[in-house]
Structure formats: C-alpha cells, structure tokens
Amino acid sequence: MWIYEKKLQYPVRVDTKDVRMAKYLITQYGGPDGELAAALRYLNQRYTMPTGKAKALLTDIGTEELAHLEVIATLVYKLLKDASLEELKEAGLASHYADHDRALFYVDANGVPWTAAYIQAKGDPIADLHEDMAAEQKARATYEWLINLSDDPGVKDALRFLREREVVHFQRFGEALNDVHEYLNTKKCY
C-alpha cells in the first residue's frame, strides 16, 4: 500500500507568474512523456518482472514519479496563481478555463487529455525495460525543451533537478535490463 508524505521531493520556487509557461509545463503532468504516464507505466509493469530486484526498482521509480508529479503540479499551480482571465486568454488558456477554470488537469501542452495509449505493458520484461529506458530519454528531452522555454531561475532550477532524475532512472533501468538478461540466460526460459 502507499502512504503520503507532506513535503515536496525538491523545493519549488517560482519568482514570477507566467501563464504561458504553465500551459507548456502541464505536459509533464498529463502529456505522453509526463510523470503520470511514467508512474502508471512502472507501477503496472512490476507485476510481471521476473526478479525481486526488478520488482523493487519499478516500485521505487514508479513511486518517485508520483513525487515528481507533485513537483510539476506545484510549479503549474504557482505559475497560474492569481492569473486574470485576460492573462489566461492571452496565453491560449481560454479553452482550459472553459473546462477547468484554474484547476489542474491531466492534459498535454495542447490540452489533449491523458490516455493509457501513452503507455504499454508487454509482459516481456526485456521489451518493458526497453520501453522504460526510452520513456526516461523522452522525458529528459522534454525537460530540456521546457528549460529552453522558461526564463524563471526558480522554474529552471526545479526542471534541472527533474531532468537529472530522468538520467539516473535511465541508468538504473539499464542496469536492471542487464541483470534481467543474465537471469533469463541462466534460466533459459524464453
């Protein structure tokens, strides 16, 4: 089961309200390479991993992704806080306002809602771990584009932390892939 801890994994500072940046950042909340997709992908794939190590890693990274989801939510919340309707309109968020006001929702930067079609569970641990490594690289690239789009030092700082975590997850998944390969070779169970 899960428990919640009442703190962010990384402190978030936002210096200036930036509605347009919130519209871009929301893609890491509910977009194809976002934190929700990552968490749900890993927490679902763990059931068919062949080793305790791989089950542990997917449990732990899946859980850390939920903490990242909260960091993204905090950034979007702070960037949108006290935005006027006029500012929402200017940033292209009038359509978001029509459906959600200033509430967060699981959408990408174009307002397209999250779908399970973003993720996969093949039941084959080699295929699944390759997907996970690709997902981490796509998320890393997304964070780089988002850092390019922001001029707020606090936002950039939080995004750099999240980018670095994608790199670490990619490395850990790579090690898990090697370990599972080794396990399957000794088992000869393909």
Partner: protein
C-alpha cells in the same frame, strides 16, 4: 511463508486499517479527542509491530522509512501480490 509471518502481517494490516479509518474521520473531525487518542495509541502499536516484522523479514517501506540488514533486503520476495 511461515505461520508467524502470516500472523504478524495480518496484525499489521489490522492496525494499519484502523489508522487509515481514524485518519479519515479525524480529517473531518479534528477536535474529536477520543478518536485522536485511539489514533495515537494505534500509532504506537503499529510502530511496535513494524519493528518486530522488520527485524525478521526486512524492510516494510522504501525511501528511508525502514532500515535493512545486509544485503539490502527490500528486493526479497514475496511481494504483496505474490502471497
């Protein structure tokens, strides 16, 4: 797993469920002293059971909420869905 494991896990689940349920009640009734006293009593009980469990069977929680003997026992089977 052995009978002692099943028994300890069952006790943890019972106390943990009591804490979840009291937590929800207290969210809506923060001034209820009876519920709060029971919550704090069960918290003590949970910590005792958790400690007992972890001494024999390894970490119950990740991310620093449980210590581990060597080697790192978090990766050990069984996982909750395998029992």
């Amino acid at each position: 797993m052995d009978a002692q494991y099943c028994n300890l896990l069952r006790q943890l689940q019972e106390v943990s469920f009591g804490l979840v349920d009291l937590n929800l009640f207290l969210d809506n009734n923060p001034n209820n002293q009876h519920a709060l006293a029971e919550y704090n009593r069960l918290h003590q009980k949970y910590m005792e059971l958790k400690n007992m469990y972890e001494c024999t069977y390894g970490p119950l929680a990740n991310f620093g909420y449980s210590p581990s003997q060597y080697p790192w026992r978090w990766v050990n089977d069984p996982w909750p869905w395998e029992l």
